[in-house]
């Protein structure tokens, strides 16, 4: 009694394979199902990677996305999550070799959506840290807000992402240098902020459960030129932390 399972297997195989012996695939209308599945995948990828779409144009995007979709169908019916491996696909995609920053722009699109849909949590009230004795502060653990994400890119990914996300061409004044970014969600709105490498090191340390003192020591070791005070105050202002 596995006829239904066999039917699913044959149907799915015929969705992928245009030369199929599966009887329903002999109907011209079977292509409706092939088209609908593929179109929904491509529409979802377009919606989830708007900055990439802007950079490469719709025809190029859909051609690349179709290759990806055939290799990697959605696993989750929440299509806003589809494309978790699309940045890695773009990184290895030969026709995109001339756009080495494209995968990181895709990662920023991805982080934006992750931040948007992450769990709610009360943000850290930084006023509570004012006047706290330094020894107490050093022993305090900061909790990263569930909607906080970050990326260190060897390219000016954020400077390329920001105008592209809004459908605008990247300006000629672009400085070709590595960029770090932090996505934060404040009052329901995601912001993608420029960050220093030291700030990401601090976030990574806090994410591992380090106290502020330990995190500061890690930053000082990794980035001896960075100001700990500026690194901490910048992060606290950004909204990257949650109330414990």
């Amino acid at each position: 009694m596995n006829a239904l399972a066999d039917f699913h297997d044959a149907f799915v195989a015929a969705l992928h394979d245009e030369v199929s012996s599966f009887a329903p695939a002999g109907h011209a209308a079977f292509a409706m199902y092939r088209n609908t599945v593929m179109r929904a995948c491509l529409d979802a990828l377009e919606a989830n990677f708007p900055a990439v779409l802007c950079l490469v144009g719709r025809d190029w995007f859909r051609a690349a996305a179709a290759i990806h979709a055939r290799e990697s169908l959605p696993k989750d019916p929440r299509l806003a999550r589809y494309g978790d491996d699309f940045p890695a696909f773009l990184e290895a995609f030969e026709p995109a070799a001339g756009l080495p920053y494209l995968a990181d722009v895709a990662r920023l699109d991805r982080l934006y959506n992750e931040s948007l849909d992450a769990a709610d949590a009360e943000p850290l009230d930084t006023d509570r840290l004012v006047g706290v004795a330094p020894s107490v502060l050093a022993a305090t653990r900061l909790h990263i807000h569930p909607a906080t994400r970050w990326l260190a890119s060897p390219f000016p990914a954020l400077s390329i992402w920001r105008p592209s996300r809004n459908g605008v061409a990247v300006g000629g004044e672009l400085a070709w240098q590595p960029e770090c970014s932090i996505a934060v969600r404040v009052a329901g709105e995601v912001s993608m902020l420029p960050a220093s490498r030291a700030e990401l090191t601090m976030l990574e340390a806090c994410g591992r459960g380090a106290t502020m003192g330990e995190a500061a020591a890690t930053v000082a070791t990794a980035h001896p030129d960075a100001s700990i005070e500026l690194t901490v105050s910048g992060l606290l202002r950004s909204g990257a932390f949650a109330h414990p």
Binding site: A3, L4, A5, F7, Y33, L116, A119
Partner: protein, 278 residues
């Protein structure tokens, strides 16, 4: 007692402000829960605000009830969380499958209505109703081709499903029209065999043709106004089965809120007159 549901419309975030301010009597909204199943953030929060103002229906597209496997437990759990959060007045799904072998195929796929399939769909509906803590209604699908190997007509299959599970039915009149046209069935005969007593909701939508296919194939596209042929079938349903909450279903080519409200008003008039044009 809340006022009875009359005509509602698909909710789109672009219409949020107008939806919140609209006081049209009996108006309600329907969404695909998959679009609001985020862990947090503005999307579920928006739905919660809407649900405080208007009755809300959750119309799922991905439980894959006709798969030879139980619905995904994680998905059911997330759907339950959304049900608890927005307290929908109606919850519905499709007589179709869309998940198989660890993949989600974003479409509503057909299957042979065999004894085995009936047992499986019934088990999946029962499991879903248990997990969600409420009755769900199952929608008749749009068909594009005739499959072999059916043991049951669709209307008998749905009647038996209702009997085995206590589920309700969502009668999509546009799907009836599209399927009848595409597979050579008489739409009125289909409606006359439909177990109208179990219908909790009616869908009305527009259809079209796809440029990749012959114009003889109608597509359940939800991107156009409700066609006159579908209004005629709707009047027939109302005259036989009495009024039911009716949705103007629109996904693509989104018109203004007021245009959808006009279609709601037309359905609302027919609901009041039992299908006779006022």
């Amino acid at each position: 007692m809340p006022p009875p549901l009359a005509a509602g419309m698909s909710f789109k975030p672009a219409h949020m402000e107008e939806a919140l301010h609209c006081a049209s009597p009996g108006l309600w909204f329907e969404v695909h829960p998959e679009n609001y199943m985020a862990d947090g953030g503005p999307r579920p929060a928006m739905l919660e605000v809407l649900a405080e103002r208007h009755p809300l229906s959750l119309h799922g597209v991905s439980l894959s009830l006709a798969a030879a496997a139980p619905p995904d437990a994680g998905h059911l759990h997330r759907l339950r969380r959304l049900v608890d959060r927005v307290k929908p007045v109606l919850v519905s799904e499709h007589l179709a499958w869309s998940a198989w072998g660890g993949h989600y195929l974003p479409d509503l796929l057909p299957f042979p209505r065999t004894q085995e399939a009936l047992a499986r769909v019934a088990a999946n509906v029962l499991r879903s109703q248990d997990a969600l803590g409420c009755r769900i209604s199952i929608e008749n699908p749009a068909h594009y081709l005739v499959l072999d190997g059916h043991d049951w007509s669709e209307t008998d299959f749905l009647s038996e499903l209702v009997r085995r599970t206590g589920c309700g039915l969502l009668l999509d009149v546009n799907n009836v029209h599209v399927s009848a046209h595409n597979t050579g069935v008489d739409a009125l005969a289909y409606l006359d065999a439909f177990p109208l007593h179990a219908v909790t909701e009616i869908h009305l939508a527009g259809h079209g043709v796809d440029e990749d296919f012959p114009a003889t194939l109608l597509i359940d596209s939800h991107d156009a106004p409700v066609d006159e042929s579908v209004w005629r079938l709707y009047r027939h349903v109302l005259s036989r089965g009495g009024p039911r909450p009716t949705l103007i279903e629109r996904d693509g080519n989104l018109p203004s809120f007021d245009v959808l409200l006009q279609e709601c008003a037309r359905a609302g008039d027919l609901l009041e007159t039992g299908g006779r044009a006022a």
